[in-house]
Point group: C2
């Protein structure tokens, strides 16, 4: 691998990657990222042209998009020429869902000659392995029910997570993310004893927006009264595994991963 830059979103992932790989950090204006590094490249969504130049000047050959990127505001008045030329592609992709948008952004970087790396390539130790990871999975049909929903929605580029309890769906993830869904379940159907299932969408490019859970996810699941979390083995990141297992033990939430 050549010289790596991490385009840093929010959450723990950018720092977990930087801890193992010497990397420059790209900080996007409007995105709250807490990771620091010896080399920081400041960037703006409106100025992709400048970012390409800065990356090349820094000798960067490989890029990793890491962490959550809630869409920052976009100031059309300050577009550079490259970004203006790319805008129609980005806008068209945006209308087709999150995944389409990220795929387009990855394609744009690849066309510029950068190699896109997934967080799972850089830190395979963070990827959920198959099997029971904590506690004892409940013997209900709830995980299968939530899984069936995600399978149906995946081709539509919607839904990385769902909650089922006693055969009923209590939450299906939308743009607002898993945490918002878990808070909704906590508010509207507390104490259900149900299960959270989190999986990649069918055909999802794991190099971007790979599903992830952290200790906070476990705490929110517990607050929603859930008894377990099922992940898709090989397709969900644990941020980080020790902290997630400790949270499961502390909150009596089972955790397991299936193909």
């Amino acid at each position: 691998m050549g010289r790596l830059a991490i385009i840093a979103g929010t959450g723990a992932l950018p720092a977990l990657l930087a801890a193992r790989h010497p990397a420059a950090i790209v900080r996007l204006a409007g995105v709250e990222a807490t990771v620091s590094a010896a080399q920081v490249i400041e960037a703006r969504l409106e100025r992709f042209g400048a970012l390409f130049d800065d990356l090349r000047e820094a000798g960067v050959t490989d890029l990793c998009l890491a962490g959550a990127m809630r869409r920052a505001g976009f100031d059309r008045a300050s577009l550079d020429a490259r970004t203006a030329a790319l805008l129609p592609r980005v806008m068209a992709a945006q209308g087709q869902g999150d995944d389409a948008l990220l795929r387009e952004i990855v394609a744009i970087f690849e066309e510029e000659g950068f190699v896109m790396r997934g967080a799972h390539e850089l830190r395979p130790d963070l990827v959920a392995p198959e099997g029971v990871l904590a506690g004892k999975p409940p013997e209900t049909g709830d995980a299968a029910r939530a899984r069936a929903i995600l399978t149906a929605l995946g081709p539509l580029d919607v839904g990385q997570a769902a909650v089922a309890a006693q055969g009923q769906l209590l939450g299906i993830e939308t743009l607002q993310g898993t945490d918002a869904m878990l808070r909704f379940v906590a508010q509207t159907a507390p104490g259900s004893g149900g299960v959270l299932v989190k999986r990649a969408k069918a055909g999802q490019d794991l190099r971007v927006d790979m599903p992830a859970i952290g200790p906070d996810t476990v705490a929110l699941a517990a607050a929603a009264g859930l008894s377990g979390i099922e992940l898709e083995a090989g397709h969900v990141l644990l941020l980080d595994p020790d902290a997630v297992r400790a949270a499961c033990a502390a909150h009596a939430v089972a955790l397991w991963a299936v193909p």
Copy 2:
């Protein structure tokens, strides 16, 4: 039609039906129903046998399940013999979703010889007709996006409603209902300008749990910052049409129905 009894759930529908059809009212313990009538039959979920007897004694031949029936608590200690015998069927159906449960309950009443009537049969004037009902539908792809989600979920007996804005899904209805979903959108993605789509699930028995909106739905959609509501023509009730149209005008929410 013979002698009608309305099994009354919450909301405006039971009273709207009773206003046009002389009917006995079945009041289920634990279900908040506000409708009154000359003849009220008190019933309990635990005592279906007694309910069958009471209905026959009152000369009731036709039944209509109307309004929302949030599951009341169920006291296994006070089951009558008929209910105990029916319990395994009800429990099995419950594990397969709301619709399956209601279908099973309808089947049980039919086996007892009662004719099950849908609210749309009793009040066809409340059914949303095709076309624009209020305001001007927005010219975005959001309604189509939400509709595609509901189409994918329908066979799984999930989802009568979804919210999309700018190509993104912001809410998918789960057990907690449309109102809870709209409150979630208001909390987590206010001011999106999106669209609520409400449809029957594929294969849904319209005689039970027919989708409905009322003026409150319009107010909640407005509070969530939505600009329009699309219904499935012929498959959604307006409770009642004048009040819904007035709410749309007051809140500047467009309303239309498509096949």
